[in-house]
């Protein structure tokens, strides 16, 4: 079924000034493992996750511990940590809200405190471009200063917004730590299992009748390369990270050979709500906004200040979910 396409590009060249050791939270997730694979060839990697790390390369030191526990500090004590990539964020829409909330926020707070205590020079926090939220009144290209409005319609991203804002205030409070907040567009790829890639994997995806918003996708390996690039000394601030361009949802589905089923908006929202409550689908009803309205960001700041450009073409990125 899947047409042959150019083999994935090789490993990125080591950016100058790669930290001697990098601690990665949430390393056991699909994206975390992809990042570890890229990173461990270039520097010493320490993993922290409450899940075991399946298929862990030998040279990675893994600490299986909850980020909220005091024992996390061992990961910092064992050998000095020069940089931290914090991507240990839980977003299971069916998880009780309080548990995820505490894990995400208390965990983030804990990790950032430990960074200060142990003299970590660089912190990269993984946020997401969905913090802006898909809205009819959005500009076509949202810049980093756009208010994070996603929560007014979609409470599930509240955690991510709070985390992003917490990291921003940390950035101002601790100028001695170079903090980078990375907001990538929808991450897709062969291993990630997030809402956008699961949606694109449906044979008969439901669409909102009469709506066809522009989408931005980034390949999982490109997203990991962006996180590695953010480790570059001197880089500090909030950055949108974009992939190879913008494309209407309908053209993405056509490229994947899907048979979309358009449903009128009011009916669709009621349907998804019922199905979600009955646990037939893992798509929260508010996710409908993402296939109805625009949430496209301007990634020029990261391109300018970090020299970012994705490796995968638009077509390769779309087809990576196959």
């Amino acid at each position: 079924m899947s047409a042959p396409f150019p083999s994935p590009p090789g490993d990125p060249p080591a950016p100058s000034g790669m930290p001697g050791s990098v601690l990665v939270t949430g390393i056991s997730g699909n994206l975390g493992r992809a990042l570890a694979k890229q990173l461990h060839a270039e520097t010493r990697v320490v993993g922290v996750d409450r899940r075991p790390f399946a298929g862990k390369p030998k040279d990675i030191e893994h600490h299986q511990v909850d980020l909220r526990k005091a024992r996390v500090e061992e990961a910092f004590r064992h050998r000095p940590v020069e940089a931290v990539i914090h991507m240990g964020i839980m977003h299971d829409p069916h998880m009780p809200f309080s548990e995820a909330h505490s894990f995400n926020l208390v965990g983030t707070q804990r990790i950032l405190e430990l960074c200060v205590r142990h003299g970590v020079r660089k912190v990269v926090v993984l946020s997401s471009a969905s913090v802006y939220g898909p809205r009819p009144e959005n500009s076509n290209f949202l810049e980093e200063e756009t208010p994070l409005m996603a929560a007014d319609r979609f409470s599930d991203v509240r955690d991510l917004i709070e985390l992003d804002m917490y990291a921003q205030s940390f950035m101002w409070k601790h100028p001695e730590v170079e903090t980078v907040i990375v907001r990538p567009v929808n991450i897709v790829g062969p291993t990630v299992r997030n809402a956008p890639s699961n949606y694109l994997r449906l044979e008969v995806p439901i669409t909102v009748m009469g709506f066809d918003p522009m989408l931005q996708l980034i390949h999982e390996e490109d997203a990991c390369r962006a996180l590695v690039l953010a480790l570059r000394p001197g880089l500090r601030g909030v950055f949108n990270v974009t992939g190879p361009g913008e494309v209407p949802l309908s053209m993405v589905l056509r490229e994947l050979g899907r048979r979309p089923l358009p449903v009128p908006q009011p009916l669709l929202r009621a349907m998804v709500r019922r199905a979600f409550q009955a646990r037939i689908t893992s798509f929260p009803p508010e996710e409908v906004d993402h296939i109805q309205y625009l949430c496209v960001v301007d990634g020029s700041r990261f391109a300018r200040e970090a020299g970012w450009s994705p490796r995968y073409t638009l077509r390769e990125t779309i087809r990576s979910v196959l």
Binding site: S139, F141, D212, M214, G245, V247, M251, L314
Partner: protein
């Protein structure tokens, strides 16, 4: 099956577009080449191939229904940033559509004008997609800045729905102009080109606006016309373009100073309107 069908329909519509456009229309329209990716769209979602098919009904309205006459279109530069500022009328925004079609049919090389939409439009099924594929964007200041910096021409109706949905007794009376477009003109250095549309006011004479119903449906207005629906009558449209006016000043100057400059644009539009009304022989022909 379905894609084949829609491709066939698109092909037919494209042929219709070319035949309405007259001799050489195809070659002229092929000169429109916005930056496109491998899927044929620009970053805003503008798709010229889709547009050439989708505008066929608007071309028909332009040529056969409203029989639009264009005056002074040569005042609009062929390239470079520009702000077209016009009067808004007619209950349904056919005035904007006809101005854009004029730049596709009665101008060589054609120019794709970006009209600014109300934030209400992206909530409308089909309309939102049609507008985006035809290169229209929501009129946020960020969008305008970006497009002007890219040397595009924008079409602005500073009266907004105040002008569009005013009752018939106030026809050809300009409503209050917003100041936003002047800030953009000062910031970008784009010339302002006054535009007057004569004929749209009579297409759907509104007796009054049924505000409570509009509010209930979250529509900007609910005009009540003699036919009950705001369907346009076949009035003849006249589009008048005035000479470009370049303004100098700081974009963050006081509202008072901005208002003075905006008043200058208002009077230019009013003068064009008066001339257009004087020159018009009849509402319908």
């Amino acid at each position: 099956m379905a894609p084949d069908l829609s491709e066939a329909v698109k092909g037919r519509l494209r042929e219709w577009t070319y035949s309405l456009g007259g001799p050489g229309a195809r070659e002229r329209l092929e000169k429109l080449t916005p930056p496109r990716n491998e899927y044929g769209v620009d970053p805003y979602g503008f798709d010229t191939e889709y547009m050439v098919a989708a505008v066929a009904p608007l071309f028909w309205l332009y040529r056969k229904y409203f029989r639009v006459q264009v005056h002074g279109i040569e005042h609009v530069p062929a390239e470079g940033r520009a702000l077209l500022v016009g009067n808004h009328s007619g209950q349904l925004p056919f005035d904007g559509a006809m101005i854009e079609v004029a730049f596709l049919l009665d101008r060589d090389p054609p120019r794709a004008i970006r009209a600014l939409m109300d934030t209400w439009v992206p909530t409308l099924p089909f309309v939102s997609t049609f507008m985006a594929r035809c290169g229209q964007v929501v009129g946020t200041p960020e969008n305008c800045r970006r497009l002007l910096a890219a040397d595009e021409a924008l079409l602005v109706f500073p009266e907004g729905t105040r002008g569009l949905n005013k009752p018939f007794r106030e026809r050809y009376q300009l409503q209050r102009f917003g100041l936003g477009f002047m800030r953009l003109a000062l910031e970008s250095g784009a010339p302002v080109i006054p535009v007057a549309v004569v004929g749209a006011e009579e297409q759907a004479p509104a007796l009054f606006d049924l505000r409570p119903l509009a509010k209930l449906l979250s529509f900007p207005a609910w005009p009540v016309t003699p036919t009950l629906l705001p369907l346009p009558l076949p009035t003849r449209y006249h589009l008048h373009f005035g000479e470009p006016i370049t303004f100098r000043g700081a974009p963050d100057e006081d509202d008072e100073q901005l208002e003075r400059k905006v008043a200058e644009v208002e009077s230019a539009v009013r003068a064009l309107l008066e001339r257009g009304l004087k020159e018009r022989r009849h509402i319908f022909w």
